[in-house]
Symmetry: C2
Subunit: 140 residues, 2 copies
């Protein structure tokens, strides 16, 4: 199970300490560069208001199975958290798409670090992706 890098993220956040805990709290504009060989896959992406961006969190610790989230400072299993440290450090976040031009996507609400490899882009569909009542027990 080998991943191909399809692009790279350009972000004002250079280190983990600079990045927000969640992209939803960020007003910065980031630029997502898609490599030339994958450009045909971008057709019609410009019509999407929001996208899932999957990226490879290359500065994560893949051996951690417990995490201390900022929310309550207690230890939880990584699979009950959104910690970047996990066996397969695939970052998942929803971004607002501002515009697309020549393989470059300008987006908002992204917490990725400068130089993060891009893995996939998926459109966000409200019909299947909205679950208003989803909750996480330990966060209550």
């Amino acid at each position: 199970m080998n991943l191909k890098q399809i692009g790279v993220i350009h972000s004002p956040f250079k280190t983990r300490a600079e990045a927000p805990f969640q992209g939803r709290h960020s007003v910065e504009v980031c630029e997502v560069e898609v490599f030339e060989e994958f450009l045909p896959g971008l057709a019609d992406v410009e019509g999407c208001t929001h996208l899932f961006l999957l990226r490879w969190l290359d500065r994560a610790d893949r051996k951690m199975l417990k995490a201390f989230p900022p929310h309550d400072g207690k230890e939880h299993g990584v699979f009950a958290t959104r910690s970047p440290n996990r066996p397969n450090p695939i970052g998942l976040g929803v971004v607002e798409l501002l515009d697309v031009s020549g393989g470059r996507l300008r987006v908002r609400e992204l917490d990725a670090l400068e130089g993060t490899p891009l893995l996939d882009i998926k459109p966000r569909f409200s019909e299947v992706d909205n679950i208003p009542d989803a909750t996480v027990g330990w966060r209550r």
Copy 2:
């Protein structure tokens, strides 16, 4: 960028023809088996109502950059669709968690095929994951 298989999905769907187009349309119960070495990461997962399950779509075509979704039968770039065929075939879906017992999660609303490798589990947080007004231009 190499992935580790952390578990396997047990599903009533044996072939792509049998699987629903979106898990949200499925009432079947599936079982997600997490391998023993990753079990500490499951602590507190039982308190989550909904989870993102990332899996490796091992029967996908990784060379396709265009897709014909069932919605309108026209060709679109794969990054504007949720087609399983894409350069990095990482399946993303939200499931309802029914219960957790000894490394086995029973879930609903999953469209994965029997034997699909599991990559990651992330809790779904309504505070950051809900975007009621997200739309996709070509689906209008």
